[in-house]
Every structure is written in structure tokens, then in C-alpha cells.
Symmetry: C2
Subunit: 202 residues, 2 copies
Amino acid sequence: MEKNESSAIEIAESSKERKGKAPLLAAAVGHDRAAGYKRGVSIFDLILRISAATAALAATIVMGTTEQTLPFFTQFFQFRAQYDDLPTFTFFVVGMAIVTGYLILSVPLSIVCIARPVAIGPRFLLIVCDTVTAVLATSAAGSSAAIVYLAHNGNSDANWLAICQQFNDFCQRVSGAVVAAFVAVVLLIFLVVLSAMALKKH
Amino acid sequence: MEKNESSAIEIAESSKERKGKAPLLAAAVGHDRAAGYKRGVSIFDLILRISAATAALAATIVMGTTEQTLPFFTQFFQFRAQYDDLPTFTFFVVGMAIVTGYLILSVPLSIVCIARPVAIGPRFLLIVCDTVTAVLATSAAGSSAAIVYLAHNGNSDANWLAICQQFNDFCQRVSGAVVAAFVAVVLLIFLVVLSAMALKKH
């Protein structure tokens, strides 16, 4: 009788323990799944980050090395165009160089997020810096796009003439740099969204 | 003897229950604290959102209503400047109108975040849309800033003359609109950071 009772108690206890463990186990599984999801997001983040850095670097180099000298010149003056003739393009080169530098420096932080997928600190830092960088890249790309548009089309109301008839190569390369900068901007937006997706899941 | 045993079992059970409850209680307290924190962040989000909408609306209206007619004219031509003489300023007005519209429409979503501080869906939607809107506002502000700079200073290399000597009022108002747009951009960056802070805490 007594033996029976004690076994009944043991069974009751073990079932209680099982009940106690079941949610814990579920939580651990959920935690693992969240970590796997976050690791996947981080790997995608790293790939996008390297692509954005490449685009930003290309934009910087193309703009910075653009120069065109026309094949005719007078005694006192030679017709020559390069990026620092226009302050906006100088801003573009400086801005995109900063963006490139940040994106390269943030690669280790992105690798930390792959190694420790549930860490929140590095990811929060990334989302804040990515947002600021996206805005900087956009301002560089947008302002240069406005000037490139003006160089291509001119403006009759302000009496500004198009300069791309003379400096055709120059305009082509500058347009290419602006397009590369906008590609970097789009990739940076995706980086912010990815970080938000990783922060949201817990 | 039997009574004693059963009471011992009861005690054991109740202590087990207490042990089971303690972490739950702590979790509930932590949950409440996180909810309070998130509600505070959401209230701050609403205030910043309304400020950003005001700044964006001001930028749109100031740019859209800017026009200046010079007090002298010829038989065939009257000297008159308004925003749609320059395609960049048209883009500014359209872009900032979209930004203003989004910011006003997102106010209800921000109120939902105050009412249900632990809901993740609306906050994720806000952070994605805020990022895209920040980039749109930056491109509008940046491109117009480049043109305003050109209108003020001209560019001797491209042979573009400054037009602000003639159209002084026009340039002043346009510059004001660009500054208001950059204020909206800064507020949008803070909105993204706030949403990230709320997503991070759980």
C-alpha cells in the first residue's frame, strides 16, 4: 500500500516535471530557430554590404578620375573638365569615399552578427549607422544627379547652357558614377530593412 | 502518519508551484517594464512624426508658392521666376508632398503603437516606410540644395551665371524651403532610430 502510494507520487511528480519542461524545451527550440533565422539574415547582410561597398567604391573612383581635355585650345586657355570644377562633384567624391570607408569598416561588425546571431548591440549599431550612411549617399547622389541633368539639358529660363555637347565623355562617366551611387543607396535601404527584420524576430 | 505524509506532499507541491510561478512573475514584470519603455518611445515617435510632417509641409508650401516677377519688362518678355522653371524644384515639390502625405497618414499607425506597445508588426512597417521616406526627402533636399548653390554662386568653369542677384527674393524663399526639408530629413533619421530602439527591447 505504502509502496503503491510512493510510486503514484513519483509518477505524479514526473508528470509535473514533464509539464514543467515542455515549455522550456519549446522555448529552447524556438530560440534555436530564431538564431538560425538571424544567422541567415546576417549572411545576406554581409553579401549586400560587400556589394554596396563595391558600388560606392566604383562611384568614388569613376567620379574622382573623370577628366576630359578638348583637342583644341587657344593661346591662354585650354578647355578641360574634371570633377572639381563643380563643387557638387567634389562633395560627391568626399561623401561617397566616406560611405565606402564606413561600409568596409562595418564588415567585421556584420561578421560578429553571423557568429553571435542573437546579439542585439552590434545589430542596433549597424541599423543606426546604415541609416545615416544611406542619407549621406543619397544626398551625394541626388545633388550630383541634379547637376548632371543640368549639364545634359541646360536650362533656358536661368540661361544655363548644356555643356555635354562639348564634354561628352565627361558627362557619360559622371552619369555612370551617379547611377552607381544610387545602386549603393538601394542596397543600403535593403541593409536597414534586413537589420530591422533581425531585430524584430525574438 | 498518512496525514503527515500528505501534508508533506502538499507542502512540496506548493513550493514547486511557487518555484514555477516566480520566473513567470519576473517575466511579467519585465514585460510590463518593456511595454512602458516602448510606450514612451512611441509617444516620442508621435511628437517627432508630427514635427517632421510640419517641416515637410512647410517646405512643400514655401517652394510651391515661390514666384517673383521683376519690376521691369520688355515688349515680348517679362522677367519672372517660379519653382517650375527648374525641373529639380518641381521634383522637390512633388517629392516633399509625398513625404508630407506619408507622414500624415502614418500618424494613426504611430497611435496604434502607443495603444499596443508590444505589437511588432506596425513598428516594423513604420521603420521600413520611414527609411524609404527619409531617402526620398534627402534626394529632394539634396538635389535642390545643389541647384540653389548654383543659383547663388554660379559656376565660371561651366559658364553658368548666378541668378540670385536678379531674383533675390526667389532665392531666399527657395533656400528656406531646402532648409525645412533637411530638418524633416533629420527628424526622419531620429524616427528610424526610435523604431529600432523599440524593436530592440524585448
